[in-house]
Each structure stands twice: as structure tokens, then as C-alpha cells.
């Protein structure tokens, strides 16, 4: 005999002391699956026989069982469980986690239990206790079903125990992880057969409306979200088509509340013929009994919900919270059919529905229907696609995994809805509404963020605390922050005597990691800026959920507004927008917004305070002091000062070069025309990121939109370098030398691909090689003095590089989430994490 248990169940062993529960459990279940009261007793008291520790022991047992069930693990409870009240607690626990309780009763003859009890050296209970157990057990046997056990196995005597040949674990009906689609998921049909046929045809399937059959495009599968019947004109045809498709493996179907009510009716139960059931009943009157019987079987066999595509997709009629995915309980079924209600009724007398999706943070995408909406919209990775066809709306299908919506309009308003469906224009975007405020719980404490590029990135708690303050006090609205750029490491410290950095270092990094082609881009000396610009302010409202009449934003690499003043910001962005519009960017890139990674000049536009208080101040102090020193030394008529004089003359020259270096990154900003924007990455446009394109594509594409009258966008010079070709390398070095000779910042070297991996994993997305003169403003005017340079060369890049990779992965992930219309919470977790990483102490000169 084989015992069958659902693969996700709570197996409760029931039996008197000495009935063989523990032996049985050990024999047929995994060691970790069996939680016994004895071992819990031992854990809390050092002694598994300490009966006075029972209360604590059971508390522990319940705790462990709860954790296991929460994690979706089959669990066996090995305790006597002969009393009804003990079992009820376990059944309640199983229900709490939506798992099925199963009872295995060891109903042994008295003498078996008694003799085993006596044979026990460690614990031998008085005989009356054992017989008491047995008595209680037998008295309660009949109640097990009422107590809520789904399956009950009773083993009478040792023969039956010996006859057990195994335990079969039945897979959950609702888990079809192997079904990977692609799917066409169809919302509530309610008897709208003609629209169904039109929709299926529009989806590319071949429908024979008269025969009620559909040939599904090869490889795809249909998923019906229930509520096939009631209210509409032709329920029988809808069922016929769906049943045929399901039976031929072309479709899956979950039940809706209307379907289940119909089943009740068909079974002869007393149900009110309300909410359109009357129409269905009339329509079915013409059908033969064979169909009616088949329909009953079909409806009876419907599984509450499905978990598909390896857990990435969940379909249920009224949606489903995460803790119920793939679980089985009455509550799960109820939820799938009716959703959650608040217990109140609205002004139309209908139950007020609690929007479970508002609190949904699960990984699986949930597609559902049940509540008619004017238009389907993403909300926390869920979508209600019941667009009220029967109420004169439309019938909608969602293609998975494409996430494309396909719909057909209703041919008529078959019934008026009792509660008005939210009208266009007044419709609130639920996601944007919710994203006004994100939950701190998702951001604080130690964070582990999943990224596609680096797997899990851990952010330490003290850094998230720092990020909270920065984000709250200084950053712009999180709705804008779809991307932050990573920090950039300098090239390997140069071995050349006069240089701290040199292109050879960056080239060697990529060559060492088997990259053959790199791109060198001129590094403008301004401030890093992320520019998001939209075609118009409607796009800002619709896509970003910000209603302030702006057309975009411009922020720094730490998420602060670049411009102090909103009017200037918008005027500047308008220039960018107009330049893009004039050159047909929106049409060519098929988008109505764009996010650009740029350098914004002049440097003093953002860094005026820094320049005045630090650079200019240091420069003027140095030059005047040095001039005084040199002049005093020159007038000193003592040969002993010669060395000093030579030394300070050289140093005075370095100080003048320092001033010369920072000066060229500054110019006076009198009007908007004095700003220059040099974009170098197109981060994202509607529906996609551009990380899959190489840097030549980025530079060339951006190049089309740069330059010309009234266009703040300027082109950036770049060179493609073949690292195997010495000439190509020498040319690049020469180019860099020319760029930097007069204080130019230098260049950025990147692998040709945006995302590149080497044998040891992800590579630096970019490495900066800064000019010798430029570095004076970083390392101090006199850093080139040999005595300084030798010491400065003792720098380590490891921390900086590790940081750059983590930030890169987080930035890419944030943008990826954003274009996929994931809830802002997920985007912000990445951005917040990135900012938190920035509080890690790293030498700022790198």
C-alpha cells in the first residue's frame, strides 16, 4: 500500500506512546522534515523526557513548523496528537500557510503500545497514561474529517504498517512550472462569444466559430481567467470553445466566481439567478444533457490558479497574494474567486474590494480579471485585464512574456454595470499614485539587491542610513531617479617616471582581460549629469507620474537637481528637447522620452563654490606666496640658498600651472547658451535600455543629434583602438597626449561593448586616464615633484574598482526595471543602494 500526500502538506502523526509514530516517520520522510515533540523538548531542556518542558517544547515546535510551511516545505509533526485540541492547532497552522493537513493515525492494539512502553528504558509511562492515550485517540477518530484533515490514513496493527510500501507525493495541481508559454491570457468573457472569436483571430489563432474550435498558433497556449459565463449573449458557445481548447491541451483555464456559481446551480443547489445567471440558465436550456454533464465535469475540474513559467507567472481570476501562490486551502480558492473585500459596502451596495495588489511585492507577475477597469495597467507587477467587455468596454488579452496587450471593442453594452467603470481622463494611474511614497522598509537596514550583472549586491546598514538622509534631504523625487551612473576608476598607476596615469595602464587592463577593441572618448571637464527629457509634459505625467508641467529633469550623479532654479532647468531642457524634435529623434528612436548620460559644462556651472573656495583660493594663495618666496630668494646674496632657490622656482612654476589647469574648465555663464551638454550614453528610451549596443553605436547615434544652432548638445571626440595593433595604440596615446598637454582632463577608455565580461567576471565599464596637468587639481599643484610622485604612486585601486562594478550593476538594473515598468520600489532600491555605496570611504582622488 502506498500513502499519498500532497507535496506541500502538513502531515500530522497521531498515535499513543509506543504506537510507532517516530519509527514510521523516520522510515518514510526526510530527517529534516520530521519535527518531533521529543527533540524539541530536548532542545529546550536538555532532556527529551522532561514533561515539565512540554509547553516550551511545543511553542518551539509550532515555530519551526510555521517557518517550514511558510517556506513551502512538507513537514511531519511527530507528537502523540491524540487530543482534538492539539490537532486543531496544527490544522490552523496548516491553514495559516495554505497547506493541506494530512493525518496518519497509528491505531495499534493496546498491548503493542504497552509492551513497547515498558521496554523503553529512558521513559516508561504508567500504563494508565498509555491506555488513556489510546482511548482518547479512538474516541476522536471520527472527528478527524471535521477537524479539517484533507486526507486521513489509519494504520491498524503492525501488519498494516508493514504493508506500507511508500509515500507518494502528489504534485500540486496549481503548480505548472514547466508550462513556460508563451501565453495569450484572456480576461473575463461573460458570454461575449463573438468578441472572443474576434480577439482570438486578432491574436493570430484560427477560429472556427460554428464548430467552437480554435487552432492555436504553434508554440503558444491560451489562458482563460474565468468568468466565461453570465450576462453576455452566448455563454454556451464560449464554454464549448474553451472546453475544447483545454481538452486538446491548447489552453488552461482558471475558474471565476460566476463559473462556480453556475456549477452550484447545475448541481441543483439553491442559488439566486442574479448577476446574469438567469441569462446563462436560459441559454443552456437549449443544450443537451451530455453537454451539461461535460460542463459540470469541466467546471468541477478547474484549479483555482496556476503558477507558470518556473514561478514567474501566476494567473488567477481575482488575483492572488504572494503567500498563496502555489498553495492549496479553502482560503486560497476563495481568494482566487473573489479577491479580498474590506467587509464594507460602497454606495452601490457592492462589497468594497480591498486592492491586494497595492501591497504586492512578489516576484511572480500576477495576471487577473474579476474587477472591470477602463484600461489595463501595471500595478506592482500585477495587471487586471478585465476591461469590461460585457459592459460595453473591450475584451483584452495579454501576451506573455511579451507583455503586449491586444483587445477588441465590445459589440454592444450587454448590461449596465452596477458600479461605473472608471472613465478615461479621470483615471488615476494606480502605480504612479502609490509611488508618490515608497516604503522605507524596502530600503533600510542591510540590503541585498539582486542584479543581472553581479547577482546579489550587499549594502551595509550604516551606508543605507547615510543614503536615507541624503535621499530625503537633497535628492529630487525618486520617480525621476531611474538611473545613476557608477563611479569611475582611474587607470593603473603608470610605471613611467613622470606620470601618475597614462593610457598604457587602461589598455593593459583591457588587454589582460582579453578585450581586443576599446573605445577612447574625450573626457570633458564639467559635471556628470543625467538628463531625462520628454517630448512634452503629458509624457512626464503619464510615464513618470509627475504632474508639475515640467518636460524633464537634469540631475547630478548623486541624484540632486543640477540647476538650483526650476525655470532655468526647464528652459535648458527645452533647448535639448527642441534640438531632438527638430532632428526627428522621437520618430527615429520610436520613443517620447529619453534618458541621457552626459557631462555638463562649464565646470563652474555646478562647482562654482568649490572652484572659488578651493581651487581659485588655493591657486591665488600659492602663486602670491611662491612669487614672494622666489623674489626674496633671488635677492638673497648668499650662495647657500641656491638649492632652495632652484627648488622654489620650480615649485612656483607648478603653482602657476595649477591655476592654468583649472581655469580652462571655467567660463562665465551669462545665459543658457553658455551651457554645453555632451551626452555619451543613451541609457534608455520607452520600452528599452541601450546597454546592449556598443559604444560606437552610442557615439554615432548621439552624434546625429549634436551640434548646430541653439543646440546645447555637443559632440564628443572618440577613437576606436585595436589593442593588437601597435600603430592604433600609439595613435591613441598621441591623441591623449595632445588632449592633455594643455590641461585637458584626458580620456575615458571603455571596452567596445557596453557590458563586457572577462574570465574573472564583469569588467570595468570605463577607465579614466587623466592628464598630467589636470591631475594637479586633484593631487595638489606640486604632485609632480619626484619626492611627491613616488609616494603618490603607492595607491591602490581595488576598492574603487569593486565599487565601480557594484554601482554599474545597480545602475543598469535600475534602468532595466524602469523600462520594464516594474514598480518604482524596485528601481529605487537599486538607486538607493548605489547612493548608499557612495558613502563607502574611498580615496576621493581616484
Amino acid at each position: 500500500m502506498k500513502i499519498q500526500v500532497p507535496e506541500l502538506s502538513l502531515v500530522v502523526m497521531i498515535g499513543a506512546t509506543g504506537s510507532g509514530k517516530s519509527t514510521f516517520a523516520r522510515r518514510w520522510f526526510g530527517a529534516a522534515e520530521v519535527i518531533s515533540s521529543d527533540s524539541c523538548r530536548e532542545m529546550v531542556s536538555n532532556n527529551e523526557n522532561a514533561m515539565d518542558a512540554s509547553e516550551d517544547a511545543f511553542e518551539l515546535l509550532f515555530y519551526i513548523v510555521g517557518k517550514r510551511l511558510k517556506r513551502g516545505l512538507l513537514t511531519v509533526v511527530d507528537a502523540t496528537n491524540v487530543r482534538s485540541e492539539d490537532r486543531k492547532k496544527l490544522v490552523a497552522l496548516a491553514r495559516e500557510y495554505h497547506t493541506l493537513p494530512v493525518a496518519i493515525v497509528m491505531n495499534m492494539p493496546d498491548k503493542v503500545c504497552l509492551s513497547r512502553n515498558e521496554a523503553r528504558a529512558d521513559r516508561n509511562l504508567p500504563a494508565h497514561v498509555v491506555t488513556g492515550h489510546i482511548h482518547t485517540l479512538r474516541k476522536g477518530m471520527g472527528r478527524l474529517k471535521d477537524e479539517g484533515f484533507r486526507k486521513i490514513y489509519e494504520l491498524r496493527g503492525e501488519d498494516q504498517v508493514a504493508a506500507v510500501t511508500g509515500i507518494t507525493r502528489e504534485p500540486m495541481w496549481n503548480v505548472k512550472k514547466e508550462e513556460q508559454g508563451p501565453f495569450d491570457i484572456i480576461g473575463d468573457i461573460h458570454g461575449c462569444y463573438t468578441e472572443l472569436c474576434q480577439l482570438l483571430t486578432k491574436l493570430g489563432h484560427t477560429v472556427d466559430a460554428a464548430a467552437h474550435t480554435v487552432e492555436v498558433v504553434a508554440g503558444r497556449k491560451l489562458v482563460f481567467l474565468g468568468d466565461l459565463c453570465d450576462r453576455g449573449p452566448d455563454t454556451p458557445s464560449v464554454y464549448k470553445l474553451v472546453m475544447h481548447a483545454v481538452q486538446h491541451g491548447r489552453a488552461l483555464c482558471v475558474p471565476g466566481n460566476h463559473d462556480m456559481k453556475l456549477l452550484k446551480y447545475l448541481r441543483g443547489r439553491n442559488v439566486q439567478l442574479s448577476h446574469g445567471l438567469k441569462d446563462t440558465v436560459e441559454q443552456l436550456a437549449a443544450e443537451d444533457t451530455a453537454f451539461i454533464e461535460a460542463l459540470k465535469v469541466f467546471l468541477d475540474g478547474l484549479v483555482s490558479h496556476y503558477v507558470l513559467d518556473n514561478g514567474r507567472l501566476v494567473v488567477a481570476h481575482a488575483g492572488l497574494k504572494e503567500e498563496m501562490h502555489g498553495r492549496g486551502s479553502g482560503a486560497v480558492r476563495e481568494f482566487c474567486l473573489y479577491g479580498e473585500t474590506t467587509g464594507e459596502t460602497d454606495e452601490f451596495g457592492l462589497p468594497v474590494r480591498y486592492n491586494w495588489a497595492a501591497a504586492y511585492t512578489g516576484k511572480a507577475m500576477v495576471i487577473y480579471g474579476h474587477t472591470p477597469v477602463y484600461a489595463a495597467q501595471w500595478f506592482n507587477n500585477t495587471m487586471d485585464i478585465d476591461t469590461g467587455c460585457v459592459f460595453g468596454g473591450k475584451l483584452t488579452a495579454m501576451r506573455y512574456p511579451e507583455k503586449v496587450l491586444v483587445d477588441v471593442p465590445a459589440l454592444a453594452t450587454y448590461v449596465e454595470p452596477a458600479r461605473p467603470i472608471r472613465m478615461p481622463g479621470t483615471g488615476i494611474n494606480l502605480q504612479h499614485e502609490q509611488d508618490d511614497v515608497l516604503d522605507i522598509e524596502d530600503l533600510m537596514g542591510k540590503q541585498v539587491i539582486e542584479t543581472a550583472l553581479l547577482n546579489n549586491i550587499t549594502i551595509r546598514e550604516e551606508y543605507t542610513a547615510a543614503a536615507l538622509e541624503t535621499m530625503s534631504r537633497f535628492s529630487i523625487h525618486p520617480k525621476w531617479l531611474m538611473y545613476l551612473p557608477p563611479t569611475m576608476s582611474p587607470s593603473e598607476t603608470s610605471a613611467l617616471p613622470d606620470y601618475l596615469e597614462h593610457p598604457a595602464g587602461a589598455f593593459s587592463y583591457y588587454r589582460r582581460n582579453d578585450v581586443r577593441q576599446v573605445i577612447c572618448e574625450e573626457k570633458h571637464m564639467g559635471s556628470r549629469a543625467i538628463v531625462i527629457v520628454c517630448k512634452d509634459n503629458r509624457v512626464v505625467a503619464d510615464r513618470f507620474g509627475i504632474e508639475d508641467n515640467s518636460i524633464g529633469t537634469c540631475y547630478t550623479r548623486t541624484g540632486r537637481a543640477f540647476f538650483q532654479d526650476k525655470t532655468t532647468e526647464q528652459a535648458f531642457l527645452e533647448m535639448v528637447r527642441d534640438a531632438l524634435t527638430t532632428r526627428h529623434f522621437w520618430e527615429e528612436q520610436e520613443t517620447d522620452w529619453v534618458c541621457l548620460d552626459c557631462e555638463l559644462m562649464p565646470w563652474n556651472a555646478k562647482a562654482q563654490a568649490l572652484l572659488q573656495h578651493q581651487y581659485a583660493a588655493t591657486g591665488t594663495a600659492a602663486v602670491h606666496a611662491m612669487d614672494a618666496v622666489v623674489s626674496v630668494l633671488r635677492s638673497t646674496d648668499n650662495p647657500a640658498v641656491t638649492t632652495l632657490r632652484n627648488d622654489f622656482e620650480e615649485r612656483a612654476d607648478m603653482c602657476r600651472r595649477f591655476t592654468a589647469a583649472y581655469r580652462q574648465y571655467c567660463w562665465e555663464v551669462k545665459s543658457l547658451a553658455d551651457y554645453q551638454l555632451a551626452p555619451f550614453h543613451i541609457i534608455a528610451t520607452e520600452g528599452r535600455t541601450w546597454f546592449d549596443k556598443d559604444h560606437v553605436w552610442h557615439m554615432e547615434t548621439i552624434g546625429h543629434y549634436c551640434g548646430g544652432e541653439r543646440n546645447p548638445m555637443i559632440r564628443t571626440d572618440w577613437k576606436l583602438v585595436n589593442l593588437d595593433d601597435e600603430e592604433s595604440v600609439a595613435e591613441a596615446v598621441g591623441w591623449w597626449e595632445a588632449l592633455t598637454a594643455n590641461g585637458g582632463e584626458g580620456m575615458v577608455v571603455k571596452s567596445l561593448s557596453f557590458i563586457e565580461r572577462g574570465s574573472k567576471g564583469l569588467l570595468q565599464p570605463a577607465i579614466k586616464t587623466r592628464g598630467r596637468e589636470y591631475l594637479r587639481i586633484i593631487y595638489g599643484a606640486e604632485y609632480t615633484a619626484p619626492v611627491n610622485l613616488t609616494r603618490l604612486k603607492q595607491r591602490g585601486l581595488g576598492t574603487k574598482r569593486a565599487l565601480a562594478l557594484k554601482e554599474f550593476a545597480l545602475g543598469v538594473q535600475a534602468a532595466t526595471h524602469f523600462v520594464a515598468k516594474e514598480p518604482l520600489r524596485k528601481v529605487h532600491q537599486c538607486v538607493f543602494g548605489l547612493l548608499a555605496l557612495e558613502s563607502e570611504p574611498v580615496d576621493p582622488r581616484l
Binding site: Q612, A616, A621, A622, H624, A625, N638, A640, R791
Partner: protein
């Protein structure tokens, strides 16, 4: 970085005896982070000049300090004026190079110590906090003739204005000992910024240097204050406490003096009392103070046994640390500690920990939020946390006319906005409408005709 002392005393070369440095030699003294060169550009009977040239090791300066404090990684630590100016390092160099002269000793020619000589001192360059006027205020009362050239920040960008660096020439007939002690104290005082490696003995030494003139100086308060500020910025609180007994009373008091330039109405405590009364006017059992800062309101609330749960929330972990200290959290008895919780949180993120309170206070908080993020705060407080009572205070912009004519001026550099009474009541009305509250607006502080009270308060009651 350069100090020259010239005398025309006859014979001028007496300066060499006084300084205990031979005019024909080029000498060097080691300093903490570099060295100083001493040489004589001119040395004859008529005129003698001694130069003290600082040669600071820029790289070493940084390396020695990294890894200690929180801003060890600020870029400004690496590129700054310190190697090029006369700062506390110059004082340090004076005490090292001219130790005996500074202490009023001269082994070979003791009679010279008390001899007043004509001196000309040149400093290239001296950073001055407070502008040219400050030079006159500091050196004028000591009898110097002052010539100062202020250097422009960058002659290519005249619009950036002047720097705080001066090439300064001071002339006076006095003793070298007095001259050096003036320079020793006043150079860092002029600079008034943080400096390096001042230890306790040096502070004592510095105080000794002021004997005989500092107590008569009309700016002695300011000198003492600036002077001490350097030290406290370097030393931890415990060190300051330790030293307190060693420091003259006057200096300690000067440190305590108010230095805030903006008029700060002394209404903070009164305001907190009013908010507290308002919160407790109904049988409220639990209060959350949103933006509790250093915990002043929380402290006040703790004294009311009516409250069983008091939570203070702030976005700055530093503020919370201070609050823990000020409330002596560790020393509170268990039953008190149970009532109190301080949490790190933000008003622009939803926080379930602030839900379920009877009342919430936002005292001088909303004006620190960017207007575009106000909505998030509103939702956090009035939609999600939804306490039955919310007390909000914010400055009344109109009242600013009592201290400024500048309509743009705000009372705190971090204020993102300040509202007039109309703006505030409009905002309150909107909140009530949207979230189902009723509000009463009350003035806090003494009202001024036509301008209202300094602070406005709204008490929201959930409908």
C-alpha cells in the same frame, strides 16, 4: 608661507643675536609635517632681514591625517591652501625656530631683549577671516602700522571677487619678544580655520604668550573665541572637558557666547511647551515626534505620565546619537526606557513604525522639505500613519520683516521655503479636504502688528 622680519636698528645685525640664528647661515628646523628654512636675505649694519620659510610636505600632511575622522576622505583635504599660507603652522615654526626670542631670552646679549627696535614684518600670504577690517581690529590696537594687499581670487575671473589672502606688512618699534608673541597668537586667529597638531601643552603655551597684552586688547573676546574654536574642532569633547579647568574663565565664557548672525527668536523652548500642551490637551496616550532632532520635545513629553509610548524619529543618525546622549537614554530606568523609542526614518518614505499613534508632532520640519516632496510627507503622515491629532509648526514668513528687509531671506540656510499665513492656511485647508481632518491655526510667540507671530501652528484633528 613666508615671514620676513626686518629691522633698521643699529647695528641691524643684532637681530641675529636676538633670533639666535647666524646671518651667514641657511638653517633648517623640523616641523611636524615638513620643515622651515631660516636665512637672511639682507644682513648688514643698516638693515637686517630674517626670513622664515615654511616648506610643508603636502603629501605627508594628508597621509598622517587620513583614516581618523569622518571627513578624512573629503577632497579638500588634498588640495588646499595650507602649504602656502601663514597659519598655525607658522606659529609652530616661530616657536621652533625662534624659541628663545619668543620666550624673551637672549643668551649672548641679554640686554637686547628689552630693547625696542624698529621692525617691519611681512607675511606672504596671510589668510584673513573677516576682511581687511579684521586686520586693523587685531593689529591696530597693538600699535602697528598696517599695509595690506588683498589678492583677487583669479584675475581671469574678476567677477569671482577677492580672496581672503593678504600680503601684509606690519611696522612698529617694539621688542622682538612682543612682536613674536603677537604674531604667534594672531596669525592663527586671523586665519580662523582648522589646523593641525595642536596639543595641550601648546595651548597652554599659547595662552602664556598672550600675557601682558591679550587681557588689554579690545578684541580679546573675539581672539579668545576664534582661538579656542580651532582647538575644539580638533579635540574630542572629553578633551575639552579635561582642559576646562586649565583655561581662563574669560575664554571659556567666550566660547559659550552666541555667535549666530541671524536673529534667532528665543522662542524655541516656548514653542515646544505650547506644542506639548496642545498634544496633551486630549487623552492622548502615544505620541510620535516626527523630525525630533536632538530630542528636546521628546524630553519634555517624557515628563508626562499620561503618555505610554513616545517615539522620536529623525532622518539624521547624528542627531539621534545626540538625542540618546541628551536624554541619557542608557541611564533611564527600565520603565522609562520602555516608553521611549528613537528611530531613524524619513518623512518622504512610508514608515509603518509611525502608524498607530494617537498624535504626531512636526515641529519646524516641513520647511526643510523640498516643495516637490511635500506630497510624500503628506501621504506618510495624513494618509498612512493617520494619527487622530497632528500638530504642525512652521515659520511665519511675514514675521521676517522684523529683522530683515530682504524678502528672499530665510531663517535657516536649510529652509526650502517659508510660508505666509495665507499660504499656510491654504495648505492646511487642502490637507483637511484631501485626508479628512479639521484644522485650527494658532500663532506661536509674540505677535507683531501686520506681520503676525514668528511661528504658526496648526492642530489637525482627524474627522
Amino acid at each position: 608661507m613666508l615671514l620676513t622680519i626686518t629691522t633698521t636698528h643699529t647695528p641691524a645685525t643684532d637681530l641675529g643675536y636676538l633670533l639666535h640664528k647666524h646671518p651667514a647661515k641657511v638653517q633648517e628646523v623640523e616641523l611636524g609635517k615638513g620643515k622651515a628654512h631660516i636665512f637672511y636675505p639682507v644682513a648688514n649694519e643698516q638693515e637686517c632681514t630674517c626670513a622664515l620659510l615654511l616648506d610643508i610636505d603636502q603629501v605627508g600632511l594628508v597621509r598622517a591625517n587620513s583614516g581618523t575622522s569622518g571627513n578624512a576622505f573629503a577632497l579638500e583635504q588634498y588640495v588646499n591652501d595650507r602649504p602656502y599660507v601663514a597659519s598655525s603652522i607658522m606659529s609652530n615654526a616661530i616657536s621652533k625656530a625662534f624659541a628663545s626670542a619668543l620666550n624673551g631670552k637672549c643668551k649672548d646679549r641679554p640686554e637686547l631683549v628689552a630693547t625696542a627696535m624698529p621692525f617691519e614684518v611681512k607675511l606672504s600670504v596671510l589668510p584673513v577671516n573677516g576682511g581687511e577690517e579684521m586686520l586693523y581690529r587685531m593689529f591696530g590696537p597693538l600699535g602697528y602700522k598696517i599695509t595690506a594687499i588683498q589678492h583677487i581670487l583669479d584675475d581671469q575671473f574678476p567677477e569671482w571677487g577677492n580672496s581672503r589672502y593678504f600680503t601684509v606688512t606690519l611696522t612698529q618699534t617694539t621688542t622682538l619678544h612682543t612682536l613674536l608673541s603677537h604674531l604667534y597668537i594672531l596669525i592663527p586667529v586671523m586665519d580662523n580655520s582648522k589646523h593641525y597638531w595642536v596639543n595641550r601643552e601648546e595651548i597652554e603655551k599659547l595662552l602664556a604668550k598672550g600675557k601682558g597684552w591679550l587681557e588689554k586688547h579690545p578684541e580679546r573676546q573675539l581672539i579668545a573665541r576664534r582661538y579656542l574654536r580651532h582647538k575644539t574642532s580638533l579635540m574630542n569633547d572629553a578633551m575639552t572637558m579635561l582642559m576646562k579647568d586649565d583655561i581662563p574663565e574669560e575664554i571659556v565664557n567666550a566660547e559659550r557666547a552666541e555667535t549666530i548672525a541671524l536673529p534667532k527668536p528665543k522662542l524655541h523652548d516656548a514653542r515646544l511647551q505650547i506644542v506639548c500642551d496642545e498634544l496633551l490637551s486630549t487623552p492622548v496616550r502615544s505620541v510620535v515626534d516626527l523630525g525630533c532632532g536632538e530630542g528636546k520635545l521628546v524630553k519634555l513629553l517624557l515628563t508626562h505620565p499620561q503618555l505610554t509610548h513616545i517615539t522620536g524619529m529623525d532622518v539624521s543618525s547624528r542627531s539621534l546619537e545626540i538625542a540618546y546622549q541628551k536624554l541619557r537614554y542608557d541611564q533611564l530606568p527600565d520603565n522609562q526606557r520602555k516608553r521611549l523609542k528613537l528611530i531613524l526614518g524619513s518623512l518622504v518614505y512610508r514608515d509603518r513604525r509611525i502608524e498607530g499613534f494617537d498624535a504626531a508632532a512636526l515641529v519646524e520640519v516641513i520647511e526643510h522639505l523640498d516643495p516637490e516632496r511635500l506630497r510624500a510627507m503628506e501621504k506618510c503622515v495624513f494618509e498612512y500613519a493617520r494619527p487622530a491629532k497632528v500638530v504642525v509648526t512652521t515659520p511665519n514668513k511675514e514675521w521676517n520683516v522684523t529683522f530683515t528687509t530682504d524678502g528672499q531671506m530665510m531663517r535657516h540656510t536649510d529652509h526650502r521655503f517659508e510660508w505666509t499665513r495665507t499660504q499656510f492656511s491654504e495648505w492646511c485647508r487642502k490637507i483637511c479636504e484631501e485626508y479628512g481632518y479639521e484644522a485650527a491655526i494658532k500663532p506661536v510667540g509674540e505677535e507683531v502688528e501686520g506681520a503676525g507671530a514668528p511661528t504658526q501652528m496648526a492642530v489637525f484633528i482627524r474627522k
